[in-house]
């Protein structure tokens, strides 16, 4: 792989230990994936934030890097394992909280913006078409590649951070136009009425597409919320990092000839719904995986206005969207109902299984997938039904 003089200097340790470690990571990845050179990135989204996943070793690694490492490009952060300010009311124990705050301190020292959201594109990290970026967080990766047309591979925590500390990433995979063409077609015959239908469709298609690039035909319209949850579904059951929607997403014109095709009908939709539903009455309800948009807060405000929630109900979103919700008057009715904003975190990365809950109702197929892995039972339902479940007495 070709390195510029400056990159060679980074690799030789002339710009500090953290930069050197970062460059070693990028060079190794570049060699494995046969990149010809590195490419400069305009932004980074770092995953690997929850102490639940990092453990002490991850914390130690970050603290070590923070001694002399600094972000060279705009860098935002994935959700943490708790709200950074209201962790006590979330029931988080103080040992976990202390460690989580140390992780956040290390990232802050590294110059990472403490956004703690999986939807950076709704919180100030908004790449434009064709820009090279290095993002972790699989749902945001799929969204950035597909809906925005920025270019990123699916980065892990350390490789995204390495890109931030050097401002570069190896030029391979989805950074190259030829690798962005679809690999499998999906003929959508089911009527997609709710964002949750897109979530289920993503989950269904991801299992077959694996790390390929699906090309959806027959989708008449899709909102930001639909595409956001489609991205999450595709990326959780499979390794999908990019998709196209005919007539809609910016690069669908790359061509979709002679593709093997899947069909998504009412039958597959119903099957996926039932696959994502366990037995049992929910004792915890959560929406916002990926983090809620302003439009979702508006819907929640309407649905919750004048009502009281009867069980724990988390509305997960970024501080930025919450702020907009405050200004628009949506946050008031939500909080008055007893629902809790879960900022900086979500039901997937917070240790919900240790908070004593057994059955979670949510409108996200991705959340169902990961909550089950953590040993919880799940119920998958549209946002409206989540609210009904949360406000149901008895």
């Amino acid at each position: 792989m070709h390195l510029t003089k400056e990159e060679e200097a980074m690799l030789a340790g002339e710009q500090g230990h953290a930069t050197q470690k970062a460059m070693q990571i990028l060079v190794a990845l570049g060699r494995i994936y046969e990149a010809k050179r590195l490419v400069k990135v305009s932004s980074v989204q770092v995953s690997g934030v929850s102490y639940k996943n990092l453990g002490d070793a991850g914390l130690e690694f970050l603290s070590e890097l923070a001694k002399d490492g600094k972000a060279r490009v705009k860098t935002t952060l994935n959700p943490a394992g708790m709200s950074l300010t209201d962790w006590k009311s979330q029931g988080i124990d103080s040992v976990f909280a202390e460690k989580q705050l140390q992780v956040i301190d290390a990232y802050a020292k590294l110059g990472v913006e403490i956004t703690c959201t999986c939807t950076p594109y709704l919180a100030g990290n908004e790449p434009s078409f064709g820009q090279h970026i290095a993002w972790g967080e699989s749902s945001a990766v799929a969204y950035a590649n597909s809906v925005i047309g920025a270019r990123t591979n699916r980065e892990g925590g350390p490789s995204a951070l390495a890109a931030s500390l050097t401002g570069r990433t190896p030029l391979y995979g989805l950074h190259i136009r030829e690798n962005r063409v679809p690999t499998i077609a999906v003929n959508v015959e089911a009527q997609l009425r709710f964002p949750e239908d897109f979530s289920a469709m993503g989950y269904f298609v991801g299992r077959t597409a694996k790390d390929g690039i699906p090309y959806f035909r027959g989708v008449q319209r899709a909102s930001l919320e639909d595409l956001k949850t489609l991205s999450a579904g595709l990326a959780s059951s499979g390794g999908v990092a990019m998709f196209h929607v005919e007539g809609m997403t910016p690069e669908f014109g790359l061509g979709a000839k002679n593709l093997e095709a899947l069909t998504f009908t009412r039958k597959e939709l119903a099957e996926t719904d039932s696959l994502l539903n366990d037995e049992g009455a929910p004792d915890f309800v959560s929406v916002g995986c990926p983090h809620c948009s302003l439009t979702e807060l508006e819907t929640l405000a309407k649905l919750l206005s004048g009502r009281q929630v009867m069980r724990e109900f988390w509305v997960c979103c970024s501080r930025e969207v919450k702020r907009l919700g405050d200004e628009a008057g949506y946050s008031g009715p939500i909080e008055a109902s007893g629902a809790k904003f879960a900022l900086d975190t979500c039901m997937v990365v917070a240790p919900v299984e240790e908070l004593g809950y057994k059955v979670v109702a949510t409108n996200s197929a991705k959340a169902c997938h990961y909550l089950r892995n953590a040993g919880l039972k799940v119920r998958f339902m549209p946002l409206e039904e989540c609210v009904a479940e949360a406000t149901r007495s008895g």
Binding site: L29, G156, G157
Partner: protein, 126 residues
């Protein structure tokens, strides 16, 4: 026998080969405190990676696996080297941040379990 591969993280190490016939997941598959392999269905379940030249086709599972390798190293129970048929992101990043010598692009089926393996850069001798 001598095999030449590609160095992912260059270094020297000697150890007894611990050979997994299937891809390995470090997150959930190896206990980061003890080094014990806990992955169900693994032919190595119950054995420790500590000080061994760990040989497996390639890595799989969560990217958090890189941090598990780092944790093994910090706890003094890491493998002395890693040998893969094809290294992928999780193992490569883990080996680099943990400074565990790592070589790939070698025919891992040639390495017999428990053979004494010497790793030097991109070369294996056993």
């Amino acid at each position: 026998m001598k095999l030449r591969g590609r160095a992912i993280f260059e270094g020297k190490a000697v150890g007894q080969a611990l050979v997994s016939s299937s891809p390995m997941s470090f997150y959930g598959g190896v206990n980061p405190e003890t080094g014990e392999i806990v992955e169900r269905g693994s032919n190595l379940a119950g054995q420790s990676v500590r000080g061994r030249v760990l040989v497996f086709p390639y890595g799989k599972g969560s990217t958090v696996g890189s941090y598990v390798l780092y944790r093994l190293a910090k706890n003094g129970v890491a493998p002395s080297a890693i040998v893969n048929a094809k290294c992928e992101t999780i193992v490569a990043v883990g080996a680099i941040i943990s400074e565990i010598p790592c070589v790939d692009m070698v025919d891992v089926t040639k390495i017999k379990p428990d053979a004494r393996v010497r790793v030097d850069g991109a070369t294996l001798e056993f």
